[in-house]
Symmetry: C2
Subunit: 386 residues, 2 copies
């Protein structure tokens, strides 16, 4: 092939789906993950268990695999190791500088400001005292979000300061306060940019919330928003990828505010959970697209082939232990239903155990399929409810 | 999951694509193949190199893997081992009796006759003397095919007796003579039948020939034939799967004769090279469908999402050695092009190195894409032409 072996940092579900796509062109991959039972492990001949933040471990893994190319399925990796590998002549996409910048949320916000990329107004804070002072002197007003500059992940390092009572819960950590985009629509546009600098955006995906639980209920595409807004969102995402000079995928999360503005929230330079549907719903899956981008191949088309939604399959409340997929066969009886299970042995409440992509010829058909899946499929423990 | 580990006999490209589909539901697989560099090897944690015809080797592989289910990507395996595994309580799909029957082409022809399944008229022969005698006494007339009962594979064990000069080349082997379906259209209908006995057929695929070289040029679906003929073909294929009582996929190759008859030619109880397009073109890929069928899940839909064709990517004439995919990037610049490479290190003239699926909104669009791929993509040797 001449495309060379790829080392993937992270063997979770995103790594697993990268492997599935890599097999199309028979791009050999080696995978490293701290979890010896990581989802990707069963689907690669080369798996190394190790800490992705450990510089020496990452160096040993990539050198041992004789990889020509390194990529990630998670941002929380040793950027130092990636810089070193780059110096050794190994191609690293996303580039270490992109991961470094995105790894510091405060730096990311400043970057948007410097590059004229619209984002929610924000104020840097050193800790809780700064938060209280900014509120005191009325520089800022509730509702706000406080976000840690580093170490935030999957909801950690973020606190919503909505009412005066919440202020006590302010984090004593460096980061920033951000104006909350009230009643905004959440969109994500995934962009791919290849080695030649060519870029393409996927149609925006809208996050639909359970308002009560403040939890994403399902992801929908095309979004409900007017076409011109979606075009603006795509253009904005492409502009962000260009500003980062990022190679590979960049998932650009944004808000469409009640005032009609698009604000970039944050970015992830890797395959993204809002892009699972691209496997069945788009002309090129995000996983194939990432591999095309980083191996120097031309990008594939990104258009939707049908209406689509993704429902995350999370562990049922009250269930911890060996996972059982209740209703799997019943769910798969239906048309337009694509179940993906990540092979995690143990379920826990709200743990991401899989996802289901629903396709349909209309938004209405997709909506009916979403309802069916939610009524039918549940991840419980073999041991029963706790 | 409770779906259990799957042992796959054969790790060629069909095994590789089974693995890709197995990863959707995280069905763990172990793979055995005689070739230590088999296409599937890089994409499974469990690979055993071994002879698939060696009963003890197959038994050791399946028992060692602690598989609950055994399947095949090739028919040429130890049926004896499969019967033994079945006796040990391991599920084997396709069933050993199906593989045994299909492994003997003469028995297969008789089976069609007994079950009222239309097939080309045939005459059993013990060897060359029988061929000559049948011609002599005018029981048969040219053009004919002579087929070996056993051991035929990929064109071996088949000889076309078209003119009187060909008769000298008749095989001195047990098998049968068959009336050649002159100017017939070749179709293949892939059927899936699950543990519950439910079955579904994919839309028929038509093999388009280079008439000069007697070589398949590309596979097309939907076929050019009228819809009612295609419906009859689907019904016939479902009837054949039912007659075999086969679980899993059954690819039913047939002729639509110049006289307007459908004749079943032969069957393969596994994923089939005429079904590669189902990955991108159909609602459920044949690989996912096979896994659904054998694991006891309901079958997925089989309809075409777009017009499709598959071009086999074979080694260029005059080229033997380390494979290089000339024009790969140029080919992937185009819309509707899905390249699959099997990762075979060495190319040889006409060796199957990959395939390209072309999708389009019309037969015309697909035809243009076929032409583009043929002009653009070539598998050559790094060493250059011999």
């Amino acid at each position: 092939m001449g495309l060379g072996k790829i080392a993937i940092l992270g063997g979770g579900q995103l790594g697993l789906m990268l492997l599935q796509a890599a097999a199309d062109l028979h791009l050999e991959c080696a995978v490293m993950d701290p979890d010896g039972e990581a989802p990707a492990r069963a689907f690669t001949a080369e798996f190394v268990q190790g800490d992705l933040k450990d510089t020496e471990a990452v160096l040993a893994f990539v050198r041992g695999a004789r990889a020509e190319l390194v990529t990630v399925e998670i941002e929380h990796v040793s950027v130092e190791a990636l810089y070193q590998l780059q110096r050794e002549g190994i191609r690293v996409y996303p580039q270490p500088e992109v991961l470094e910048l995105i790894g510091d949320k405060t730096a990311q916000k400043k970057f948007y400001l410097e590059h004229g990329i619209p984002t929610a107004p924000f104020w840097e804070v050193g800790g809780k005292a700064d938060v209280l002072a900014l509120l005191e002197n009325k520089t800022v007003q509730l509702p706000l979000y406080q976000k840690a500059g580093r170490g935030g992940y999957d909801g950690r390092g973020v606190v919503a300061l909505t009412t005066a009572d919440d202020v006590e819960r302010a984090l004593d950590i460096a980061g920033y306060l951000e104006e909350a985009a009230v009643a905004a629509t959440e969109l994500c546009v995934i962009v791919a940019r290849n080695v030649a600098g060519k870029a393409r955006a996927y149609p925006a995906v809208e996050s639909m919330y359970y308002r009560q639980a403040n939890m994403v209920d399902y992801l929908l595409t095309p979004s409900h928003l007017p076409g011109e807004i979606l075009e603006q969102a795509a253009e904005l995402a492409l502009r962000v990828a260009e500003a980062f000079n990022c190679i590979g995928l960049l998932a650009v999360e944004m808000f469409y505010t009640a005032q009609g503005q698009l604000w970039v929230n944050e970015c992830a330079p890797r395959p993204h959970n809002t892009g699972h549907h691209t496997i069945e719903a788009c002309a090129t899956s995000q996983y194939s697209q990432h591999l095309r981008a980083i191996t120097g191949l031309p990008l594939g088309e990104t258009h939707l082939r049908e209406h689509a939604a993704t429902v995350n399959l999370v562990g049922a409340e009250g269930h911890s232990g060996p996972a059982v997929y209740e209703g799997l066969a019943a769910c798969m009886e239906h048309a337009g239903v694509y179940v993906h299970l990540y092979g995690k042995k143990e379920t826990r409440p709200f743990r991401k155990m899989g996802h289901v992509t629903l396709l349909g010829s209309s938004a209405q058909e997709v909506a009916e399929r979403i309802a069916m899946v939610k009524q039918t499929l549940r991840v419980v423990s073999k041991r029963g409810a706790a």
